[in-house]
């Protein structure tokens, strides 16, 4: 009998702490599969965020650290500049990347840091109890928007990937969702592409993954997947936001 599915070598064989229906486990696995398939496990260094994925360091079978909230791209910058032959990725949530770490992500992208960012957007702060995130939908009820998010006082969902797209240093930006098997497959291809951009020394790459949080969306997992397609995708359209024809010359290899 042929074994057709097994745990990637880049993942540890442990149970995660994630809630039922949470997207983090799926995204973790996709990253693990991509690292295995690219054969880069022994040169990859990951950086976990502060947020629900803070314990990612317990799940990946790679060298990994954990940054202060939002400072993840700055830590990645320090690692990658010191070890330019390593493969460095950050794993960040919407609070980490699009609120407290806005400055760090914009400037890491603008410098063209040759790192890969996996940005998990689930429109809510999960770890701290479901508060409003910068990417929370207008009208969405959260712990800190009990009447639903009002754009007039709290702003609109922050489309940070679109903001990054204007920066010459950002080479590959793509938004995907894990709302269906087909979309999960597309997400994996995008993650693979992002890592390849780094391996080719082209510069900054980021994949924004729209991911379900059934617990704080107060929806069953199946409904949460539908909510992504129906509520989030119209605001956060899927697809490649930017793919520049950067040749990967020396200007992108930070020494």
């Amino acid at each position: 009998m042929k074994k057709v599915l097994s745990l990637p070598e880049s993942m540890k064989d442990v149970r995660t702490h994630y809630c039922p229906g949470c997207g983090h486990g799926v995204v973790h696995r996709l990253i693990g599969e991509v690292i295995d398939e690219l054969g880069i496990r022994e040169r990859t260094i990951g950086i976990a965020p502060v947020g629900c994925a803070v314990l990612a360091y317990d799940y990946f079978n790679i060298d990994i650290t954990e940054a202060a909230h939002g400072r993840t791209p700055a830590v990645a910058t320090g690692i990658k500049r010191v070890l330019p032959d390593s493969v460095v990725f950050t794993y960040q949530g919407d609070g980490d990347l699009a609120a407290i770490g806005t400055a760090e992500i914009i400037h890491a992208a603008n410098r063209g840091e040759n790192i890969t960012v996996i940005f998990v957007n689930n429109a809510v702060y999960g770890m701290t109890g479901g508060q409003m995130a910068p990417t929370t939908m207008v009208g969405q009820v959260t712990a800190t928007t009990p009447m639903g998010r009002e754009a007039s006082s709290t702003g609109s969902p922050l489309k940070i990937s679109e903001l990054l797209a204007v920066l010459p240093g950002a080479v590959f930006l793509c938004r995907t969702a894990i709302s269906s098997p087909a979309n999960i497959n597309k997400t994996k291809q995008a993650i693979k592409k992002a890592f390849r951009v780094q391996l080719e020394n082209k510069g900054f790459s980021l994949v924004e993954v729209l991911s379900p949080c059934p617990s704080y969306w107060r929806l069953p997992p199946g409904e949460a997947a539908k909510w992504i397609d129906e509520k989030m995708v119209p605001v956060f359209p899927l697809g490649v936001l930017k793919e520049s024809d950067n040749e990967g010359d020396d200007t992108c290899v930070k020494k």
């Binding site: 496990r41 022994e42 040169r43 990859t44 260094i45 950086i47 976990a48 803070v54 314990l55 360091y57 317990d58 990946f60 079978n61 790679i62 060298d63 990994i64 650290t65 954990e66 940054a67 202060a68 400072r71 700055a74 830590v75 990645a76 910058t77 320090g78 690692i79 990658k80 500049r81 010191v82 070890l83 390593s86 493969v87 400055a103 760090e104 914009i106 400037h107 930070k254 020494k255």
Partner: protein, 347 residues
Amino acid sequence: MTEKVLMCGNEVIGEAAIQAGCRFYAGYPITPQNELPAYMSRRMPEEGGIFIQAESELAAINMVFGASLAGARAMTSSSSPGISLKQEGISYLAGNELPAVIVNMMRGGPGLGNIAPSQADYFQATKGGGHGDYNLIVFGPSTVQELADLVGTAFDLADRYRNPVLILGDGILGQMMEPVEIKKRKIKGEKDWILTGAKGRPPRVIRSLVLKEGALEKHNMHLQEKSRKMKEREILYDEDRTGDAEIVLVAYGTSARIARAALNMVRSEGIKAGMIRPVTLWPFPEKAISNISSRVKCFLVVEMSMGQMVEDVRLAVNGTCPVHFYGRTGGGVPAVEEISKKIKELV
């Protein structure tokens, strides 16, 4: 460099760091330490090192965090308001047991304050600064040569203890030019804990989140054990004419230079005065002070603050004799005459 050259303190920090093997510097502009990042931006590429002008102090200290865990000797520098911003990162460095050298060329505060020299960040430097139970080794150099030597020592001790080390200077020391000899230091030992990619070995994790019940207390006790060793081995101070002294001055950094001049002045007038100059502000040379506290008439602590180190002197003296204070604040620098007048009032 093996011969004496004339350099300003800020540039000396840069060259001494490079000669100590520092190959990563990240910083953000702030007066009065701007000569240092400018120097690093020129010298680091020559040495195959990395210079980054970060988008903020927060980013700079976290870039140092990344560089350190990847194995580089790494440094950042700033002045008081910027050091306040770095405190989060300093706490994380300590919690993650990452070596780094941080330079604070103090200016007047609170708030934006001014750009004149100050010593008002002593509490922040020696009593924590960031959140949590941790200690930094803190050096308070008073000459450009001592600054050069202590920067090298700082990198060695940061690696030895896997702990950040702080150089606490001020605007005068940073701007002042003095003849200096900067020696190259050898880096001893391999780091067997850094993240380089798990090639042919089990993966490593560097983190400061310790959730399991009782585990953080255990981790913190391990940090305290390191602090205990630092207290046992790393205290440095300078003792001057305390043998027959009735009054002993205690001052560090720039204040110590001025206090020394006052000491020379009153000695020439026959007053039996002496001085203790802490070189490490943490660990503090409390025994040097307590050892003589029963035979002197009193201490006079001189600071460019409204009284911060004086609290450590009082703890060391523990009520054995009076501890007086003379300080200037907001960029005020004590004059030799002011200090000698104060000494004469007390003896």
